[in-house]
């Protein structure tokens, strides 16, 4: 492995770790989103290092391009009020704190065991030049994994429909309101006064 490779690895690892810390630690959700973006880019870089070009591309396109943007949209849509901390003592803080601590301890034990369980690290073997290429992954996806792949498309469609259905609240009320005051159907009368068109009157006409 070349020195450039080492530097790249260290850089990307540091970027993704810092991004992760930023995600978790920022007070402002926008900053968290940016941290997430950084982490994703870092991991994409590590993917490149792992000769997984296709995965790196997907990582950037889907995560950076779609998911993080979606997060930013939602944060913007909700505005700063949403993230305001409500008054009163936070509920369940003990559980949260303990849970965080326990998680950290557990991770420590796990990491130690992972590093210690083998006498020597497992080095990467030399692989074919095609490893992780778009062609190979595509062939794999569309032959052996075709059924799960198609099921994924179904899952995505269902998720989209579900997201729309969940996010689109109070639909009935709106349609009912429209039904109560149907628009007049006069087609050949020329430009209508807003009152006749069924729209609320501007202030100056009232």
């Amino acid at each position: 492995m070349t020195l450039v490779g080492n530097i790249f690895f260290v850089l990307m690892a540091a970027v993704s770790l810092l991004g992760a810390i930023g995600t978790v630690a920022s007070r402002n959700p926008i900053r968290s989103a940016v941290g997430l973006l950084v982490t994703i880019i870092g991991i994409a870089g590590l993917f490149l290092e792992l000769k997984a070009e296709f995965m790196a591309a997907i990582q950037l396109i889907v995560y950076a391009g779609a998911v993080v943007v979606l997060f930013v949209f939602v944060v913007m849509l909700l505005g700063p009020d949403a993230s305001k901390v409500p008054e009163g003592p936070p509920k369940g803080w003990a559980a949260r704190a303990l849970g965080g601590a326990a998680m950290a301890v557990f991770a420590g034990i796990a990491s130690y065991l992972v590093l210690d369980s083998r006498p020597a690290p497992v080095p990467f073997p030399v692989v074919h030049a095609d490893h992780g290429s778009v062609e190979l992954v595509g062939r794999e996806l569309f032959t052996k994994q075709l059924v799960p792949f198609e099921l994924t498309t179904a899952l995505l469609i269902v998720a989209v429909i579900g997201a729309i259905a969940v996010a689109r609240a109070h639909v009935e009320k709106k349609t009912k309101a429209r039904d109560e005051r149907p628009a007049p159907q006069r087609f050949f009368v020329g430009p209508l006064h807003p009152r006749d068109a069924g729209h609320p009157l501007p202030k100056e006409h009232a």
Partner: protein, 618 residues
């Protein structure tokens, strides 16, 4: 091609009889024609079975291996297809359901081409989940053979009856029946325990739909009770199955869910008992046996007529069938040791207690339900007796119970449709206004109480004789339990005749009963095959027994051998695999660790070779 042609030729007489029976009568509608055709085909079947030497003509070589797949999956696909039919046209839905069930019945007649003299028939094995040793393994032998035919005959009858009385949510009804039908057939033909379990659980769904949607006043409660009881047993059985698979993996080096493989395992005492109890729980609840029988009356009383027919005629048989196949066939040691105790439960808790409780019921349907408990007590007793007479009697009694109790539920449904009550005190003197109904009812009652000449007698008699001469039960218990079972015959007459007395005889006191109509055509058509079967089974049981005997003999051999192996095992020794038996009943044995993933194609293959070449180098 050859096998298809062979199947066709075997089916030809029945088809011709069916067509003639369907076309010759005048001024009949399609449904009646179908019923008549079915009766004609049955008649041919009967004649052919009676003909001396007829069975020798059949050619076992020409079996079509996909026959069972068609029988099982036709209704299941039919159920899915029903979902795409318009809800607004019940006539179309009904016709479609009739067509599917009718074709399924006709196809199942193809089973008759096998003489059932040795081994598995129509066996079909396909790897399903190779890494866990799960295979799609279906086959039929003498134990399941008649139960399949009973199913394909009874479900159409139940559906036919339901279409007469149920007018709401017809689409759901069709769906439920078709799915139930397929699942029951699947459970009967599965020889892979995973597959069996899948079908076993699958049939719960349509059944609780049937009870919970078209049931009586307390339908939800009854559906819950049915579901929870059955589910409890199933879960214990699943645990036992998984333990057996685990043991097989340990002993043979590869996992397998296959019946043939798992039945070779002989477990040491404690594990064997736990496994046996797991299986027993599932089957005893389904049968149902004494302390866990209370779901049955509730389910029957609340279920619609068609649901009751299926429940009594087929679903309960799954419990006894499972006991024969999986407890006696796989758990010989504990089954043998427990037989005397369980036989006592079957006699006192089933036959006698069930009869006593039945006697005091005012709701006729509840009475018939408790009579089922008593009858199934006979079936279980015959199995515990463990000799050929007892087991064959039990198998026959399963058919008998399906026919007689199915017919009884149908008849109770007839009066419920007219009067909307099933309380015997509301009825009385019906023989005056409904003579044909009364005649058929008395006939079926006689078959149910085991009058010689009807079907009930042969089964009961064989069971009682088997019990008297049983070596499994031991000299003391065999005689005492035989006497107890024989006394059940008296009590059966008591409760059944009291019911007939209250319903049909005496003066016609209730004015509401004065204008009742006798059996209509739909009901007559539904009853006709059952009534015919009552006598065919009564006078010519050999038609049925001759196709069972090979399977029951093998089963008893297997039972005895595995009991011996179990007795030779110390209390804390390791489990062992019995030696292979060979012979036709080992056909389709899972020979080795299943093949792992099939060879990848194209680029992946290239990658593999490449990786193989360079993989070793660091």
């Amino acid at each position: 091609m050859n096998t298809t042609a062979g199947t066709f030729f075997v089916l030809t007489p029945y088809l011709i009889a069916f067509v003639l029976g369907a076309l010759l009568p005048r001024q009949k509608n399609a449904v009646e024609r179908f019923g008549l055709g079915a009766v004609a085909a049955l008649a041919v079947l009967f004649v052919k079975g009676m003909w001396p030497g007829a069975q020798a003509d059949a050619n076992p070589a020409g079996e079509w291996k996909n026959l069972l797949d068609v029988i099982v999956f036709l209704p299941l696909f039919g159920a899915v297809a029903v979902l795409f039919l318009p809800r607004q046209s019940p006539a179309l839905l009904r016709k479609f359901t009739y067509a599917v069930l009718g074709v399924d019945f006709l196809v199942s007649l193809g089973l008759l081409s096998a003489p059932m003299t040795s081994g598995w028939h129509f066996q079909h094995v396909v790897e399903w989940i190779p890494s866990l040793g799960i295979r799609y393994h279906v086959a039929v032998d003498g134990l399941s053979f008649w139960l399949i035919l009973l199913t394909t005959l009874t479900t159409p009858i139940a559906v036919h009856v339901s279409f007469g009385s149920v007018q709401t949510r017809v689409k759901d009804l069709c769906f439920a029946y078709l799915m139930l039908h397929g699942a029951m057939l699947g459970a009967f033909v599965s020889l892979d325990l995973f597959l069996f379990f899948v079908f076993w659980e699958l049939l719960l769904v349509p059944m609780i739909i049937l009870i919970g949607v078209w049931g009586g006043v307390e339908k939800i409660k009854a559906a819950y009770k049915f579901f929870l009881y059955t589910m409890t047993g199933s879960m214990l059985m699943l645990a036992a199955i998984l333990y057996l698979v685990y043991t097989h993996d340990k002993l043979a080096g590869y996992p397998s869910f296959d019946y043939l493989a798992l039945s070779r395992i002989v477990l040491p005492e404690r594990a064997a008992w736990l496994c046996f109890l797991g299986f027993l729980a599932a089957f005893a609840i389904k049968v149902p046996m004494f302390p866990v029988h209370t779901w049955l009356p509730d389910a029957h009383v609340q279920a619609p007529t068609g649901g009751s027919i299926v429940l009594a005629a087929i679903l309960l048989k799954l419990g006894t069938y499972g006991f024969v196949r999986f407890c006696m066939g796989m758990q010989g040691g504990p089954t043998w040791s427990a037989a005397a105790t369980l036989g006592g439960v079957a006699v006192f808790g089933g036959i006698l207690y069930g009869a006593l409780v039945a006697w005091k019921q005012d709701d006729v349907k509840r009475l018939v339900a408790y009579s089922s408990v008593a009858h199934m007590g006979f079936v279980m007793l015959g199995l515990f007796a463990g000799n050929a007479a007892g087991v064959q009697g039990s198998m026959l009694q399963m058919l008998n119970h399906g026919v007689s109790t199915g017919a009884l539920f149908l008849l109770v449904g007839v009066i419920y449709d007219r009067r909307h009550t099933r309380l015997a005190r509301e009825l009385g003197g019906l023989a005056k206004v409904m003579p044909v109904y009364a005649a058929v009812f008395v006939l079926v009652t006689m078959s149910s109480i085991g009058l010689p000449g009807t079907n009930g007698f042969v089964g009961e008699f064989m069971v009682v004789m088997g019990t008297f001469t049983s070596q499994v039960l031991g000299p003391k218990h065999s005689v005492s339990q035989g006497v107890g079972a024989a006394f059940g015959v008296v009590l059966a007459a008591v409760y059944m005749l009291s019911m007939v007395q209250k319903m049909f005889f005496g003066p016609l006191t209730n004015d509401k009963n004065r204008g009742l109509n006798d059996l209509n055509r739909r009901e007559t058509i539904a009853l006709a095959p059952l009534v015919v079967l009552v006598f065919v089974l009564g006078f010519f049981p050999n038609i049925f027994l001759s196709r069972m005997s090979a399977a029951t003999d093998t089963l008893i051999d297997r039972f005895t051998e595995s009991r011996k192996a179990y007795a030779g095992l110390g209390p804390d020794s390791d489990p062992i695999l019995q030696p292979r038996r060979g012979g036709p009943f080992e056909q389709g044995y899972p020979e080795g660790p299943p093949q792992t993933a099939p060879t990848p194609a194209g680029g992946a293959e290239a990658l593999n070779t490449h990786a193989g070449k360079v993989g070793g180098a660091p």
